[in-house]
Symmetry: C2
Subunit: 339 residues, 2 copies
């Protein structure tokens, strides 16, 4: 691969001159410039970004760390993010921690070693090692999304979860449901806790006693939804009349279980969910859901990150954005109330 030196030799000028022709922010005589450009073309020269980055201490690359690459929710966040930052010349390195705290730390270190200019993290862990945490908040431009991370004081963007969950469950209550189960993710993640809180809020409001057996913790994946479905649907005596699935993938798994058992939604069981498990909203059954907006999360996070990058000062900018969500009624629940 050719270097500046090769070009310089070919154009019979110094490397400094070639560099200046390329960067363009230094006067070069027209004839010299022409010779240099010609040499660049003749040699098929492509600047070495690595050397550039070393010298300039900028890689123009941002990292995105998500807990699950299989979840369209995070993919959409990444896409929107990319769209926002690309106009400022940044590129995206996407990595997945697979909800594994160890792997997450490893990937953050990789990002650090690659000297990315900034990163967006949807944390898998609840906290980081103190050194890494202080490191992150001081050295690098970081924005957290979806969940927060103890001890990392940086900006964050997420979607309202608790109130939305409450509304969702309240809707079930208003339809006469009282045996309402919930399937959700890890006990420790911000979103899980918030959604559970909303679920409890609604139950309490309706004076329905909370029942341990109706709450299932697992992961934010299809497997969990499927297992939850198997468990709840096989409760002979007290099978719930409705289930609240705390995320899109869980819903998918749950519906799979419903299908397999030979039941139907909403005739045999009502389902409400967080986020649309189907991209295509016209498909059946049309779900009653909390409409999430990953694209907005990505956009906000992207803009926040760009702001931090511009004033590369280590301003302690701890803005916390919580985007509003709303619920959309579908046909996945059945009213038990006799009119």
């Amino acid at each position: 691969m050719k270097t500046l030196r090769d070009v310089a030799l070919h154009a019979r000028v110094s490397v400094a001159t070639v560099s200046r022709v390329i960067s363009g922010d230094y006067p070069v005589k027209e004839e010299t410039r022409r010779r240099v450009l010609e040499a660049i073309n003749a040699l098929d020269y492509h600047p070495n970004g690595v050397a550039r980055s070393l010298k300039s201490a900028k890689t123009y690359t941002l990292g995105v760390l998500v807990p699950d690459m299989a979840n369209p929710y995070f993919i959409q966040i990444a896409r929107a993010l990319e769209a926002v930052v690309e106009s400022s010349g940044y590129h995206l390195l996407v990595a997945s921690s697979d909800e594994d705290a160890e792997k997450e730390i490893g990937l953050i270190k990789v990002f650090l070693e690659k000297r990315l200019d900034g990163m967006v993290i949807a944390p898998a862990a609840v906290s980081l090692s103190p050194e890494l945490a202080s490191f992150l908040s001081s050295t690098l431009s970081v924005v957290l999304i979806d969940r927060v991370l103890d001890g990392v004081e940086v900006g964050s963007v997420r979607e309202e979860s608790r109130q939305a969950s409450k509304l969702l469950v309240r809707h079930l209550v208003s339809q006469g449901h009282r045996e309402i189960a919930m399937i959700t993710g890890r006990k420790l993640t911000t979103t899980s806790l918030e959604r559970e809180a909303g679920y409890r809020d609604a139950l309490q409001e309706a004076h329905i006693p909370f029942c341990e057996t109706y709450l299932m913790w697992g992961d934010y994946d299809q497997e969990t939804g499927y297992l939850g479905g198997k468990r709840f649907l096989s409760m002979k005596d007290r099978r719930p009349s409705a289930v609240f699935c705390a995320n899109n993938l869980i819903t998918l798994g749950f519906l799979h279980a419903v299908d397999e058992v030979g039941l139907r939604v909403p005739d045999d069981i009502s389902v409400v969910s967080f986020g649309d498990p189907f991209e295509a909203t016209f498909m059946t059954p049309k779900m009653t859901i909390v409409v999430q907006n990953p694209a907005d999360v990505g956009r906000f996070a992207g803009r926040m990150l760009l702001r931090k990058l511009e004033r590369n000062s280590t301003v302690h900018d701890t803005e916390e954005v919580v985007l509003p969500t709303e619920i959309r009624l579908g046909s996945s629940t059945r009213s038990l109330v006799v009119n």
Copy 2:
């Protein structure tokens, strides 16, 4: 951010020694090693990967260039790819050309400048500029997926398309359909052409004359499917009885149109499709499709790339892998044959 020099100073050794402690492939006295490691910890030192890459001419980063980040098909390819290469210490830079040939060239240049060790490209364009083409085949480890690129002689991995399309349409024919329309992508991409060829093959086999008005070219996206739906469904006199959608997103858009017009699948119109538009196969309507296997494409491409990277010789390895596909019958078509 700390450097080797800082660590060396703190540990009262030379930078060379610190470097050797870190790399580990050179004998260092136990006591010295201890001092160095302690200094590394004390200073929160993280190696500068940029400098490393400059010196070693390896970035341990691979690029993936897809035409559409919104398409789960490519996302799944990227995921499988990542799983394969991560065990060898590589990371993935994912970029989307948005089916734009200009943008594609720009991104390839970015990959080149970032000195990625290799790249996987699902080409948007049919060919590249000759310089870039020769450059790619000679300098970098490249694997093409899904489509091929004129003049770029490297390995490629894709899925069988023509025969599968033929089988799909043949199935419709066997059910008595004769007015069979097709909605597909760009006229120029490998996959579009192959799928159209398969469509024609089946028609010819059944002695059904090919009809221009039943073939719609567009993009591989929902928009095209939707527009195609509007067009075909509004054909009063000769509305097709079946439609072949050449990709998952087109199908989604088409179904949207069907829904909007107030028709039903398969009662009013039969649909067959390439790739599952719904991740969840138990959803209704269950589509009759060509089952694609993006994960396999990613795995094969990943392994091929790793092989090229290992023997970093510029072996002209032009292996072309074409993975077999099969069709899965669902309930999205209606038989017109009276038993």
